[in-house]
């Protein structure tokens, strides 16, 4: 009897809708976080400016979209432009820090994030811009008209992450990157141009951030502070999933997004964030190196 009432109290349809929402949000988060974890795992750089690259990517998307009207072109151009910007940032600000304490890279990228965020505010103003979604079909999910676009985002994110994984696993340059991760000095000795590889990795990570910015743009407005929330969430994901662990951060992204979606059935979305904080604290307590990495003792 009591179990029956408990089952009645759980809104099954809402749970299903939130499951879909959570997976979609989780895939975008995974795209942001995998760029972050790639940069960290390979270069020992904590990229504080990642959220700003995400935001600038969305802005470049807005500009190209208003100029050409083609969403897919905007996606590609934004990715390339921000990847170039990332390469520039790496050459100017991060290459001089090679070989110094990794903590100095946090300081440098924090400075970069301040500059980029205020630049965006100065250039584009405080009013949020809108990216028009490329198509506006709906399908019926219980009482909701659920936009197809959201599912497409999730699939595209998965495809980009999959492509990255294949590239790292089988591509020649991917093998260079992995060799650089394992042993920088040895890789250099084998003739791999390590500084250029690091720049390329930073550019790839930046491009992925920009792509997720454009993809996510239609769901919320584009404004100068949109990166901050994402980078904080991505940091949580990266710590929970294990720093530098691609698979772990994808799993953690989906886990945390699902948790926040379910939580937002009962509390406001602003407070739902606290649930992911709790996950983080529990992870730190019991598995300080992340859920998916064995704890070294």
């Amino acid at each position: 009897m009591a179990i029956d009432q408990l089952l009645q109290a759980i809104p099954l349809d809402q749970l299903l809708i939130q499951t879909v929402n959570g997976i979609v949000a989780g895939m975008i988060l995974a795209l942001v976080a995998s760029g972050l974890t790639l940069i960290f795992g390979i270069m020992d750089v904590v990229n504080f400016a990642h959220g700003e690259l995400f935001m600038l990517g969305a802005y470049v998307g807005v500009i190209v979209l208003t100029a050409t009207g083609n969403f897919w072109l905007a996606l590609v151009v934004a990715t390339l432009v921000i990847a170039l910007l990332g390469a520039g940032i790496h050459v100017i600000a991060l290459r001089p820090l090679l070989g110094r304490d990794p903590l100095t890279t946090i300081l440098a990228t924090f400075g970069i994030s301040l500059v980029l965020q205020n630049y965006a505010l100065w250039q584009f103003g405080p009013v949020a811009r809108k990216i028009q979604e490329p198509f506006s079909g709906y399908f019926t999910l219980f009482y909701l008209d659920y936009p197809w676009y959201r599912l497409v985002i999730a699939l595209l994110s998965a495809a980009i992450i999959g492509a990255l994984w294949l590239f790292l696993k089988f591509g020649t340059y991917g093998i260079w990157i992995r060799a650089t991760t394992q042993d920088r000095v040895m890789a250099q000795a084998m003739g791999i141009p390590v500084p250029q590889v690091l720049t390329a990795v930073f550019a790839i990570g930046a491009g992925m951030a920009a792509a997720s910015g454009v993809l996510f743009g239609p769901l919320v407005g584009v404004n100068h502070a949109m990166g901050v929330d994402w980078v904080l969430k991505a940091f949580i994901v990266v710590v929970v999933g294990g720093m530098g662990n691609l698979g772990g951060s994808i799993a953690a992204s989906i886990f945390i997004s699902l948790l926040e979606s379910y939580a937002s059935i009962w509390v406001s979305p602003a407070q739902a964030v606290i649930f992911s904080f709790v996950v983080l604290i529990l992870t730190l307590l019991f598995r300080p190196t992340g859920l998916f990495v064995p704890t070294p003792k």
């Binding site: 946090i106 300081l107 924090f110 400075g111 500059v115 205020n118 904080l232 940091f235 730190l284």
Partner: protein, 317 residues
């Protein structure tokens, strides 16, 4: 340490202190409160230097301790009538210490970058709580309250003027500096510095490293809370913006600009940053962070020692 060096150090200390005491008598009102503000931010940066410079842990969560100091003081000032200065200190310090104990317990399990990120996320937890708990904290609007009088119960009670406020803040900051200096030169402080230099070896010698780190974070949080109380008294409002992680980032910037591991460096860094902000906001208005950020990046790359880094040895003797 030779006697001559010691005399040189204390001479320098007295000269700077005398200048700071005399400053409000000659400066116009704006620069007077500007100087007081520098001292308060300097105290916050100095508290963080205990972690960054002496223990080798970069905290990106000092806004939580600072903010809880502000909100603790705010609670005391709103509840007591007339507002009581010492209750503000008590409440602010207790709030900051409680938060610091909580953060210290969890975050010291991690090292280096992980520690930085964890403290950052902890400060965001408190930001979200303060931002969404509107009934208690006023949410986005924050709280405003009256400035308490400078009072010793049973002796005297006078309202603060901008001069006496400056001297009061200066006294608290100077005392904190002397206490922090004593801490860093004590056996405890030596263990902290050996953790910075070589954690594994410190552990191997037999020191309970985790316990030392927890105490270091708590001490640092306590002084950050003290800075928060002073800030509440000076500005008479509390807002969630002070708990946001950008404040923590600015504290780290003060440290790097001034020179970590010197205690006075962070105060100089705070002064340098606030002066830059003042100067650039005349030309760039609210976008002053663009040039300031560029200067900061350049300093990280070309001048990692900071402005006072060259004096690090002599200041720690």
């Amino acid at each position: 340490m030779t006697a001559r060096r010691r005399i040189g150090y204390w001479m320098g200390f007295s000269v700077v202190l005398a200048l700071l005491i005399a400053a409000p008598l000659v400066l116009p009102a704006f620069w007077r409160s500007f100087l007081t503000e520098i001292l308060i931010w300097g105290l916050l940066a100095m508290s963080s230097d205990l972690l960054i410079g002496y223990t080798g842990m970069v905290s990106f969560g000092h806004s939580a301790f600072f903010g809880l100091g502000i909100y603790g003081a705010a609670a005391a000032l709103l509840w007591t009538s007339p507002p009581n200065l010492w209750m503000a200190f008590l409440f602010g310090l207790v709030a900051a210490a409680a938060v610091a104990a909580f953060v210290a317990y969890f975050s010291t399990r991690l090292r280096d970058i992980y520690f930085a990120i964890t403290t950052l996320i902890f400060s965001q937890i408190f930001y979200v709580i303060i931002f969404t708990w509107t009934e208690l904290t006023g949410g986005e609007n924050g709280l405003t309250f009256r400035r308490p009088a400078l009072a010793v119960p049973g002796l005297f009670s006078v309202p603060f003027t901008s001069e006496t406020l400056h001297w009061f803040v200066l006294a608290v900051v100077t005392l904190s500096y002397l206490v922090l200096r004593r801490i860093t030169r004590s056996p405890f402080g030596m263990v902290l510095q050996s953790i910075r230099e070589n954690e594994a070896r410190t552990r191997a010698i037999g020191y309970p490293v985790e316990r030392y780190k927890i105490v270091a974070v708590m001490l640092s949080g306590l002084f950050a809370g003290l800075a928060g109380v002073l800030y509440a008294i000076q500005n008479r409002f509390a807002a969630p913006d002070f708990v946001f992680f950008l404040v923590s980032g600015e504290v780290v910037i003060f440290n790097v600009m001034g020179g970590i591991g010197t205690l006075v460096g962070p105060i100089v860094g705070a002064a340098f940053f606030l002066l830059l902000r003042e100067g650039f906001s005349r030309f760039f208005t609210e976008y002053y962070l663009i040039p300031v950020g560029l200067i900061f990046i350049a300093m990280v790359i070309f001048m990692p020692q900071g402005l006072l880094g060259f004096m690090r040895r002599s200041l720690n003797r």
